[in-house]
């Protein structure tokens, strides 16, 4: 699963938050918040998805932009939890 992390999360984000978007609607390093891709409610949904899909627990103090606010950051964060 780790090798597929980025692909799995990208598909979830597109399906959940950008269902009518054209192909490749954001780059791996784009900020979800600054680009308006995910709002605070969406962030809750994203958290739940990664906790359930990757069977990890995200602590409150880890819910910060440095860990979650781009596909690259999110992938690194998930993979560090899985390591």
């Amino acid at each position: 699963m780790p090798g597929n992390t980025k692909k799995i999360v990208r598909e979830f984000i597109i399906d959940s938050f950008l269902p009518f978007a054209e192909e490749n609607p954001f780059e791996d390093e784009d900020s979800f918040m600054e680009k308006g891709i995910i709002n605070s409610t969406g962030m809750l949904e994203l958290l739940q998805f990664i906790e359930e899909t990757f069977e990890i627990t995200v602590e409150d103090e880890e819910v910060i932009p440095d860990n979650l606010d781009s596909l690259n950051k999110l992938t690194s964060f998930i993979e560090s939890k899985l390591a």
Binding site: N39, S40, L44
Partner: protein, 326 residues
């Protein structure tokens, strides 16, 4: 004007004249005969009542006090005391039975029971955002704080479905109040006077078709700190001025800072002003003694909340023709 810590100071006399002129002009254009004000026991509605009395005279202002079983008891007490000082007619309508009939408490409690099976009606609750954004970065996520009969507290981060369920049920409190305000307004041929200030409007800290469901918003151009200035000037009772602003919709006390704003209100207002007026980061940091990182973090939060609530500040989008008035 150069950005400084007193940039939100206003000429109270002049501002009151301007607002009173606006209230009179709006009432005339709507062909109404007075104002209905929902008195929450907080500073915004207390100021609005005072301004309406100044603009229209006490006989044309009707105060509605709309408590429910989870309201703080002092809310009603302060609202009555201020209305008495203004010498306006009031009516108290306890909305608990209406909320029960709608199922507001039951729906909310069922959602909470799903994540906390031992929860019962004797528990007290509130929801809060992560505290002190300027000291510690964090995204906005709601935590449910519960307190059992013995005073033991638990804190649970809410998932989307649970957060939405609690918020949806709780927002019926403001929406039921709106129904009552409009009942009395139509019955008297009055207008419903809104009480939302600029700090709230910019970030969407109001309930669409709840406290946002009104006919006019006379203080929506004023930051909270300016509301305090006018409240002092117009003689709002000191109990209300000294009370920490609160949504007063949960059984545990919660103030506006921990529920929504995540920073002290005076800091919030200066940063909101700087954000809206595109003051340079260098000037903001120098005046407010903050780091660039702190200011950027606050601005990110403002942008997120403002974007998320844009729909609530607008009429519903439609496909009306460009040249049509309707």
């Amino acid at each position: 004007m150069k950005f400084n810590k007193n940039v939100l100071a206003i000429d109270c006399k002049q501002e009151i004249e301007r607002i009173c002129g606006f209230i009179r002009q709006q009432m005339q254009s709507m062909k109404r005969e007075g104002a209905v004000v929902g008195l929450s026991g907080g500073i915004d509605s207390a100021l609005i009542a005072a301004l309406c009395v100044e603009a229209l005279g006490k006989d044309k202002v009707f105060g509605l006090i709309l408590p429910e079983k989870e309201s703080s008891p002092v809310s009603r007490e302060f609202a009555e005391k201020h209305a008495s000082k203004l010498d306006i007619q009031t009516e108290i309508v306890d909305i608990t039975s209406t909320l029960k009939a709608f199922g507001s408490y039951k729906k909310r409690d069922e959602v909470i029971k799903q994540i906390l099976p031992e929860y019962n009606v004797n528990y007290k609750i509130k929801i809060v955002l992560p505290p002190d954004l300027l000291s510690r970065d964090a995204f906005n996520f709601f935590k449910l704080i519960t307190e059992d009969e013995e005073g033991n507290r638990k804190s649970i981060r809410l998932k989307k479905k649970t957060a939405n369920g609690i918020v949806a049920a709780t927002n019926t409190k403001q929406r039921i109040r709106m129904l009552h305000l409009y009942y009395f307004a139509e019955e008297k041929n009055y207008f419903v006077c809104g009480t939302t200030n600029k700090s709230e409007t910019m970030q969407g800290f109001f309930v669409k078709y709840g406290d946002g469901g009104v006919d006019i918003e006379p203080i929506a151009h004023l930051y909270k700190m300016q509301v305090f200035q006018l409240a002092e000037y117009t003689g709002v009772i000191k109990e209300i001025i000294e009370r920490a602003p609160s949504p007063d919709t949960y059984s545990l006390p919660v103030d506006d800072e921990e529920f929504f704003f995540r920073m002290p209100l005076d800091t919030l207002d200066l940063l909101l002003y700087a954000w809206e007026n595109k003051i340079s980061l260098v000037d903001i940091c120098a005046v407010m003694e903050l780091t660039e990182e702190q200011v950027k973090r606050a601005f990110r939060d403002f942008t997120a909340k403002s974007d998320a609530s844009r729909h609530a500040r607008k009429m519903p989008p439609s496909l009306k023709a460009d040249n049509s008035k309707y």
